[in-house]
Structure formats: structure tokens, C-alpha cells
Symmetry: C2
Subunit: 344 residues, 2 copies
DNA sequence: TTGTAAGCGTTATCAT
DNA sequence: ATGATAACGCTTACAA
């Protein structure tokens, strides 16, 4: 196709009959250039609509001013809000963000990682896929100096900045709330065992039960490996829970899709929420209060998480010296109690 | 920070005691290179984990293998699903996508456009901001050869590929459905008058009224300039509609935020949906059927729209010759009737 | 079959 | 104060 022919420093130099180095210096407002020349160059650059070529700059400066983002999927309330936050910070600091999705696949994650690393992003923001158990692909790149910041689904084994949620607190308080509302058999539909967040969220649930003198019954805990991306998974989990006797009188869900999937499954079976089964779960939907039964939720400060992760990453990227001390920021979940978890 | 020192062709050449051009050719499997040398080079490249430097390639090839995407906001069901579709196609063809948000601001859109267009992208996928009335910034770049494909919020004045919805059909059918359900005073809460989609959607609404022997009453049409990004706007629109006598008995909304905002406003006023006021609207939420009143919706094939837009853009980008004949693809909305629009 | 050298756009170094 | 040149990593005439 017709090439978008860009104006270069050479064009300016030619137009003005001076050398490219003078133009370059004038554009960067170097002290060695006379005011007259500067004015001339600036005016000419303006007139020709000169824009520096980022590829040339990248080559020279060995930086791309872009950062990669890996999430499991974009079309998800939590992640799209996080990306919103990331984009805001990146834009303010003059960085591009390159978005990719693992679709919860380990293989895809590895492929993407190579793709991005070879495209020389200056750094990476990562929330690992559900299938990710082995993290050597991240480790290797990180060891070779690629700045990485993990958010939400972080991994313990890599020493870098992390931004995550107080997952324990989220499920602890949600579970305790259910207990205080008279729930006796509280089930949990949770994510893959590979994910750290699953363990943290389960721990909060278990601890709340224990501290309230209740037994942890493993038959009440259902793992959905793909976090309910396919509705079938949640359907199955709910089915199994419903066959138990005595039946659970509450369900705690640990992700967006699990929560809405569970509500949908219960609704289809005409099970009354919260009377028959109370429901509370993680979600960042902005319509939770408009649900058939206004939904009690554990909400993540998603936008803020994205912003902080981006800030930390750019801090590493732009730091002159190697960073030794890494932070693990733990944000606080917002627990919003509505009707779905309050027995009458 | 410690720089991620990449392996270059030079390193391979040095290691093998051959020239860089030989290495380059071997890597690209040139016919001029002996099988032995090729094997050697490939093995060495593998061993050193050589990855071509994209900045150097960009500089040489005058292409970046990345495409820019401008949407009003990422954290929105419709747009995040569209981006999902775009990402899938881009990934398959080896392109990065660079996501930006205009936040419905014209100034921001112009700034972003310059940011992206300074040749850090090979092409652009755009859904214009609500404030965008003047499109000369796009026109200029497009005239200078930057491939642009518009989707959803397209503009008429630029001759390029476009992927949009049959907006007329969406509102026509939705309105007719309301009429057939006995609604007599059908209000519409719509987007900015600057947007073409607003006109198309309004036209469908008006035509359906006319074809069914009903008057178009302009007091029943409320514009929300920012499409309900701030809840206040929708609140106000609903307020005004409720003061009308006779009161409207149905509301049609033309965007995601308008629809949920309207439902929220009605709900807060304890107005029964659909008995007092029926409701139908555009939304790509995946929990519409879980709403307090299962929501009748006009749903866009968002993912598909993203895929098609990306395909068309890459078709331009990768075409050897200038493209003369541009397509306007018009996708069909899915109208899903649930309870919110069906008077008993 | 392989090597040399120029060039993509920019900046830093070293002249002048 | 300005210019020439080399370099960033890669590809590709052109030479050998």
C-alpha cells in the first residue's frame, strides 16, 4: 500500500542546508546551538510536521517505551478495570501498553511471553494463567534482567514487586458474615489449585470456619480449574453441592465468573437466594446491585491495582540502578453486603 | 537497572567466525547458504537464544508489526469484548495491539492519535469519542497513508473499511417489539448527537413508531452526551421522563451504560419493570438474564466486530498495492427478549 | 557460497 | 556553533 512517508531529521537538514547533527541538537534544545538556528529548525520541523521515529530511538536507546501486559482474558470485569488503570499510568508516563491474553493456557502464556520479550518491551505486567504451575519461563527472563511485576495472580518464587489483594481477609470476612447470618453448611466454589490466590482465599474461608467452631468439610469445597470460563464447570460444581445431604445453605465463590455462574445455576434450578442458599462471591461487576437478588460481593480495587502495578513496573524500568528491595503491596477488598447473603 | 543484554547476529557471527550477512541469510533460510553453515548458525542461534531485534527490523522494514486501538474506555462490556476479538486476530498474524482510551474526550483522542501515529503503529482501529465532531485529525493521517479502520462508532467522511452494526434494525425491532407489547408512550435515552450511531439508532426508533401509526414526541427523547459514563446524566434523563404526563410506559436505551443506568434509576424509584415502565436496551453484559427483571437486550456481536475490523485493517496493512474499494460491513444485532420488555 | 558495505533514523563523539 | 562519522541490529545489493 502507499507508504506513510515520514519526515526525518534528514529532510529538515536538507531543507535548511545544515547537517543532521545540528538539527538533532537543535531539536533537543542543546546549549551548543545558536538561538537563530534553533528557531529555524523548530519552525521547519513544525512546518513539515516532524515526528521522531520511535524505532530509531529504540534501536539507539535500547528501550521501547512500551510495556507488555499478560492477563487470562480481557473481556472480564476485573481485568478490563485493571487494564484501564494500567493504561492511565502508562499514558501519563509516555508508554504504550501491549495487551495479550493467555486464555488460561500455559502454552499460550509461554508463547506470548516469548513474543513479548522478543518484541523488547521494557517490562511486563503479569497475572498468570490458571494452568501455570511451572514458572521457569518467567524466572529465566526475569533473571536475565527483564523487569516484571505480578499483580492479582502473583507467584511467590520470583523476587520482584507484586500487587495483590488481601485475599484471606476477603474470604474470611465474607465467611464470617455468612456464619453470623446463621449459615451452617457453607460451601465454596474456588479456582484452580495451581493459583496462589486460591490457597489464600481458601485459607480465609477455613480460618473463619475454625474460629467460629465449625468443621471444614472438604466435600463442600469444589474446584473449578478454569474458573468457570466454561459454564459447564460451575454447573457441575453446583450440581454436586446440591446432592449433598444436608444440603449446603450458603455458597462462597472466589471469582467473577464463578459467582455469576453460580447465581445462574441456582436461578435455573429455582433455588431461592438467600433463603435456600445464601450467596456471596468475588466480582467486579458494576451491576451487582441490579441482580435478581442484589448480590453481596467481595470487590477488588481493580483500577487501583492496575495503577499501582504499572507504577511499580515503571519504577523498575526507569531506575538507574538495580533494585534490591521489592515490595509486595496488598490491597484491601471491599466487602459489600446486599441481599444475596442475608437470610431473613 | 541491569540491562537485558540481547544476543545479536553479531554475537553469532563472532562465535562462528563468519560474517553477519551469512548469519542473517542462514537465519532466513536463504538458498545461497550451504546446508552445513545453516545448521551451524541455527544451532548457535538456538544455543544463545537469539531473538531478532524488532526495533532494528522496524527501522529497516519501515513497519512495526503493531496496530493501535482507540476506544473510549476499556472497562466496558462491549469494548472489552471487541478488544478480545481484535487481540485474537492480531496475535494469530504476529501483530501487537496497543490499546488506548480516549475517555470520550476529543482532546485526548487527538493527543493519542499523534502519540500512536508517529509511526509506532502500522495501522489503527478506531471507535471515535463522543465529543468527536471534527474528524480532520483522522482525515489528515489517513490521507497521508496511515491505514485506519473504523468500527462501531464509524465516521462517514473518511473513505476506508468500516465495521458497524445494523443500528437501525436493532432499534427498529426493539421498538416494534415494545409496540406489539402494548406500549403507547415509548421514550428513548440515547447517546451524543455527534455520533452517527445515535442517528441510526434514533432513526430505527422513529421509523418503527411511524410505521405503526405512532407520533414521534421529541420530549420523549433524551440525549446523554457522555453516554451515561457519569450516572448523573442518566438519572437526570430518567427524572425528566418521569415528570411527563402521561408518563412514558417504556424506555429504549442505546448503550450499555445507559441501559444499566436506567434500570438502576428506575429501580431506585421503585418503579416496576415492565409493568409501569418496560425497558429494553443495548448491552453486551453477560449477566442480563440475572438482573432483577431479566433484561431484554439488543446485543452486538462485539467479538466478531473486533475480529472483522482487525482482519480488514491487516488486509490494508499487508496489501502490496493501494486499496481502492473499501467495504462497510454491517453486522446484525441479536435481539433477546426477556421479561423487562414484556407487559403481562 | 560467503563477505563487504550501505542504509534505515537518530544521537554521541570527536573534530573543526 | 556546526559538521562528519560511527554506532544501534538488521537486511540486501554488490563483490569476490
Amino acid at each position: 500500500m502507499m507508504k506513510y512517508e515520514a519526515v526525518t531529521i534528514k529532510d529538515i537538514a536538507k531543507a535548511l542546508g545544515i547537517s543532521t547533527s545540528t538539527v538533532s541538537r537543535a531539536l533537543r534544545d542543546s546549549y551548543e546551538i545558536s538561538p537563530e538556528t534553533k528557531a529555524l529548525v523548530l519552525e521547519c520541523a513544525e512546518k513539515l510536521n516532524y515526528k521522531p521515529n520511535p524505532a530509531a530511538l529504540s534501536l539507539k536507546e535500547r528501550r521501547t517505551r512500551s510495556i507488555g501486559v499478560i492477563v487470562c482474558e480481557i473481556a472480564n470485569n476485573f481485568f478490563s478495570q485493571t487494564i484501564d488503570g494500567i493504561e492511565s499510568i502508562a499514558y501519563d508516563k509516555g508508554y504504550n501498553i501491549i495487551i495479550t491474553q493467555s486464555h488460561e493456557s500455559f502454552d499460550r502464556e509461554v508463547a506470548i511471553l516469548n513474543f513479548l520479550a522478543s518484541r523488547s518491551v521494557d517490562g511486563l505486567l503479569v497475572s498468570v494463567s490458571t494452568e501455570t504451575n511451572d514458572i521457569s519461563h518467567f524466572k529465566e527472563l526475569h533473571d536475565r534482567g527483564l523487569p516484571i511485576v505480578f499483580f492479582d495472580r502473583v507467584v511467590d518464587e520470583i523476587n520482584t514487586h507484586k500487587v495483590t489483594l488481601d485475599n484471606f481477609k476477603g474470604t474470611y470476612e465474607a465467611t464470617e458474615h455468612l456464619i453470623q447470618n446463621g449459615c451452617k453448611r457453607i460451601a465454596a466454589i474456588v479456582n484452580s489449585e495451581f493459583l496462589l490466590i486460591t490457597h489464600e482465599r481458601l485459607a480465609g474461608y477455613k480460618e473463619a470456619l475454625a474460629n467460629n467452631g465449625m468443621e471444614v468439610d472438604n466435600s463442600l469445597i469444589k474446584h473449578c480449574f478454569y474458573g468457570g470460563i466454561e459454564a459447564q464447570e460451575v454447573e457441575e460444581a453446583v450440581n454436586q453441592l446440591l446432592t449433598l445431604r444436608p444440603r449446603p445453605d450458603a455458597i462462597l465463590c472466589t471469582s467473577d465468573k464463578l459467582t455469576t455462574g453460580c447465581m445462574s445455576a441456582l436461578s435455573r434450578r429455582r433455588i431461592k437466594i438467600p433463603d435456600e442458599i445464601a450467596l456471596i462471591g468475588f466480582t467486579n461487576s458494576n451491576v451487582s446491585e441490579l441482580m435478581q437478588t442484589p448480590l453481596s460481593v467481595i470487590k477488588q480495587p481493580a483500577n487501583e491495582m492496575g495503577r499501582q502495578a504499572a507504577e511499580l513496573l515503571l519504577q523498575i524500568v526507569e531506575s538507574k540502578r538495580p533494585i534490591k528491595d521489592f515490595e509486595k503491596r496488598v490491597l484491601t477488598p471491599e466487602i459489600i453486603i446486599r441481599e444475596s447473603s442475608v437470610k431473613i
